[in-house]
Amino acid sequence: MKVLLIIPAYNEALNIEKTIQDITTNTNYDYLVINDCSKDNTKEICEKNQFPYLSLPINFGLASGIQLGMKYAYQKNYDIVIQFDGDGQHQAKYIQNLVDEIEKKNCDIAIGSRFVTKKKPFSLRMLGNTLISFCIKMTTGVTIRDTTSGMRAYDKIAIEEFVKNSNSTPEPDTIVYFMKKGMQVKEVQVEMSEREFGESYFNVWKSIEYMFNMIFSILFIQIFTKKRKENKKCQ
């Protein structure tokens, strides 16, 4: 199966080389850096090291970056797309586990989760995670422990949905939507490290806004989307 790693990067000049090195030493899969109009020299670093990259002329956010990656994967006929953060938080050695899960046809979307076998620590940061988890349980009946994990693998059905539906974002509400469309979601235990350089996009207010948006979206908007009974895979 053809696998593509999408690495969305916004101002990740300090982390991107290390991330790519991690990927190339631990896997043989194709990867693609998506430079979302970084203000630093992320683009020049990609150019210098000859990383395959796409560079957006206007900064448009994470969702747009992932959608672009999906478009590229769809055009080049990739079977699996893995979303992989460029900030060094994700570890490439766990990619194989995600790919295996999809190749074995266990699921359409594999989420790299921190809390499958390990217990979720109790902190304010995890409260939002738990809240979203609760909302997903309520609307779909499926337990997803690490909802905000940014390390996910999507199969061809999900890629196609991403390309065709511009409301698809790499966020938990889209996962709920995909589940209602009949896709199977599985969690795979991974470990994540703290980011070394650069600043996270999320501060306290952004996080609260994010939580509110997600919960609202999951509870009120996704409920109105029609549930598809049959699983596409069985056809």
């Binding site: 998506i34 796409l54 002329p57 206007i58 747009s64 672009l68 055009q75 511009s166």
Partner: protein, 112 residues
């Protein structure tokens, strides 16, 4: 309706009318996008000239005072406009995003 309110309404609608026409002349507004404002200001003038019609309608609909009906109409008009703009912004956003993607993909193609 009091005379003062009628004068205020007429002045407001005249100002908005002149503003819209001026902006069209300066080509800062497209004619098709601002017809709604011209219609709105014409409606305001009508409401202030034929105020007995407004009084009659507001009484029939059970408004406490005709002025409430005038404000109600304005709020409805503004809400519809706001929603319309919201829709337009979403659409434009989508178009820019697709253009953005297209440029990025094209750039990669050409580099090969």
């Amino acid at each position: 309706m009091s005379v003062t309110l009628r004068i205020i309404l007429i002045v407001c609608s005249l100002i908005s009318f002149i503003l819209v026409v001026r902006k069209i002349k300066q080509t800062k507004l497209k004619v098709t996008d601002c017809i709604i404002w011209i219609l709105g200001s014409i409606l305001l003038i009508f409401m202030s000239i034929f105020s007995n019609v407004v009084v009659w309608i507001s009484e029939k609909l059970g408004f406490a005072a005709p002025v409430n009906f005038v404000f109600f109409m304005m709020i409805v008009f503004l809400l519809v406009e706001a929603f319309h703009h919201n829709m337009k912004i979403s659409l434009l956003n989508e178009k820019i995003k697709n253009l953005n993607h297209y440029i990025a993909l094209k750039e990669k193609e050409e580099k090969k």
